[in-house]
């Protein structure tokens, strides 16, 4: 019922679009009717290109996210727990963070050439910041009493991180991870559209340049669907992981 209600508006718009295209008998190099988009999508699905291209994009996005997110996780714990180090790093972070990842595409091409390497590096750069900033904020916000408890119990550095710091901040890290996941897909597709002959973004660019509006729209819808799917999986995981016990701990969105 909920699904039905939600799909009412998009379905209505699609019908209007289809009727408008047919009524005016549009033959265009830049527009396509929903039925044509559906056929193009079906064909791309059928010959398998859409899957192999998607796999390329996801591979670059996930490896980049793992690299950027993983190093941000470690660095944020260190900087969060060692305030002098955080003060030392603050200026560098403030200078580097605003650099748009896409502005680094020329630099990446120059140093790494085309291919997975440069795409992974750019995704890593873009996903590094949300996790670093959110993570540091999460650690600084751990209740002082929990840190006192760790001291009173004389927990070592490793035990303190694994038994107190990480569990206390995990829900917030997960929110940051979810944000970075969306960023990783955006950056991967952008890099492919702008430069890299790989993945779904490159396929999109090709379809557009060879004047295939139906396929172009089909791919755009597909990319949106992939992003939606990834976020849904993570939302589900978030609710499962931090459900009853975590509800009290998550103050972040």
């Amino acid at each position: 019922m909920k699904l039905l209600k939600a799909s009412l508006l998009p379905a209505f718009l699609l019908v209007i679009w289809e009727i408008a295209m047919r009524a005016n008998n549009v033959q265009s190099d830049s527009l396509a009717a929903p039925s044509q988009v559906a056929i193009a999508f079906w064909n791309a699905l059928f010959d398998g290109t859409i899957f192999s291209r998607t796999a390329e994009t996801l591979r670059a996005a996930m490896l980049g996210l793992a690299l950027g997110g993983g190093s941000a996780l470690i660095l944020s714990i260190f900087l969060g727990l060692v305030p002098p180090a955080a003060r030392l790093a603050q200026f560098s972070i403030e200078v580097l963070r605003p650099v748009p990842a896409v502005a680094l595409i020329p630099v990446a091409i120059l140093t790494l050439g085309f291919g997975y390497g440069m795409e992974i590096a750019l995704v890593a750069f873009a996903t590094f910041w949300p996790i670093l900033i959110y993570g540091m904020a999460a650690i600084v916000n751990i209740d002082q009493q929990l840190l006192d408890l760790a001291r009173v119990l004389r927990l070592g550095a490793y035990a303190r991180v694994t038994k107190i710091v990480l569990p206390a901040t995990l829900p917030r890290y997960f929110v940051a991870f979810r944000l970075s996941m969306a960023v990783s897909l955006i950056i991967a597709v952008t890099v492919e559209i702008a430069a890299n002959p790989l993945g779904i973004g490159y396929e999109l660019m090709q379809a557009s340049q060879s004047l295939h509006p139906a396929l172009t729209f089909a791919l755009v819808i597909w990319v949106g669907f992939i992003g939606f799917l990834l976020n849904s999986v993570l939302l589900f995981a978030q609710q499962r992981l931090f459900g009853p016990a975590g509800a009290t701990m998550v103050a972040a969105p």
Binding site: D143, Q145, L146, D148, L149, R151, V152, L153, R154, L155, A159, K163, I164, P167, A168, P244, A245, G246, T248, M249
Partner: protein, 271 residues
């Protein structure tokens, strides 16, 4: 804590010699003077209550003995040695129970944390946890998360976790301040019972005069701004204490009057 804490090998101490000594303690936060030249000592197995208005530095003194804070001047001695970091034998019970327990661990898991910290092998933890939770009347709540427990129950979990450390000294920072009167009284009695068995030394911070007299062997009253020792009251009340008879005891009433007058005087004309 089956008398382990008492039999643990300790450096030879003559009976009656102070176990804990605050010696010439002064403390500043920035330019603000918090504590000025505090001196007092605590004998082994003694129950000492610290009272005083807010701003008298009672929690600060407790944190110094807990090894969480180093005084600007003076020394806190434990067993004759200065305390510079948290000691294994000193356990700290926090005021705010809702933040002192790990919300992602069950009651049993929270008790387990202290055992893990002390390097108790995993195989021995289960029975120890069950025994400790039974001691604080939470045997049936081992699998509950703190959020599912009442305030009094959460504070009991904290007591169990402190006992898991097998401490010879227990520091308590207004542990029952946020609880309702009935829960507070039953926890007071439970703590006294547990302490009587283990012969643990206790330093207890409170702003409740009656609680201080009811629990303590001695009550140390502090002046505020900056914190100084104002007066030490010996509590000569029969043990075990009883919520009805002790609180009606002439000596209890006399002390309550004396300390009450003192506190009122302090509030009106802090010297």
């Amino acid at each position: 804590m089956t008398g382990n804490a008492a039999t643990t090998a300790q450096p030879a101490r003559s009976v009656g010699a102070p176990l804990i000594e605050f010696r010439g303690i002064s403390h500043h936060f920035g330019s603000r003077e918090i504590i000025r030249d505090v001196n007092f000592s605590i004998r082994e197995s003694e129950f000492v209550c610290l009272i005083g208005p807010s701003g008298c530095g009672k929690t600060t003194l407790l944190r110094m003995l807990g090894g969480l804070l180093t005084p600007t001047a003076g020394q806190v001695l434990f067993g004759g040695k200065p305390v510079t970091a948290p000691e294994k034998e000193i356990s700290f019970m926090f005021q705010d129970y809702s933040k002192a327990l790990l919300p992602w661990r069950t009651a049993g898991g929270n008790v387990s944390l202290a055992l893990e910290a002390n390097g108790v092998p995993a195989a021995q933890r289960g029975p120890r946890i069950a025994e400790l939770l039974k001691k604080v009347n939470l045997a049936n709540h081992a699998d509950h998360f703190p959020a599912q427990l009442s305030g009094g129950m959460q504070q009991r979990v904290q007591i169990a976790r402190c006992l898991a450390q097998e401490p010879s000294v227990l520091l308590m920072d207004e542990p029952f301040g946020a609880l309702d009167a009935m829960t507070r009284q039953s926890l007071q009695d439970e703590i006294l019972k547990l302490i009587a068995v283990s012969r643990t030394t206790v330093l207890f911070v409170t702003h409740d005069l009656e609680e201080a007299i009811y629990l303590g062997d001695r009550v140390v009253a502090l002046y505020p701004n900056p914190g100084r020792v104002a007066q030490v009251f010996d509590v000569k009340l029969p043990s075990p204490r009883d919520q009805l008879t002790t609180r009606e005891h002439p000596e209890f009433l006399r002390l309550r009057r004396e300390i009450f007058d003192f506190v009122r005087e302090v509030e009106h004309e802090a010297p």
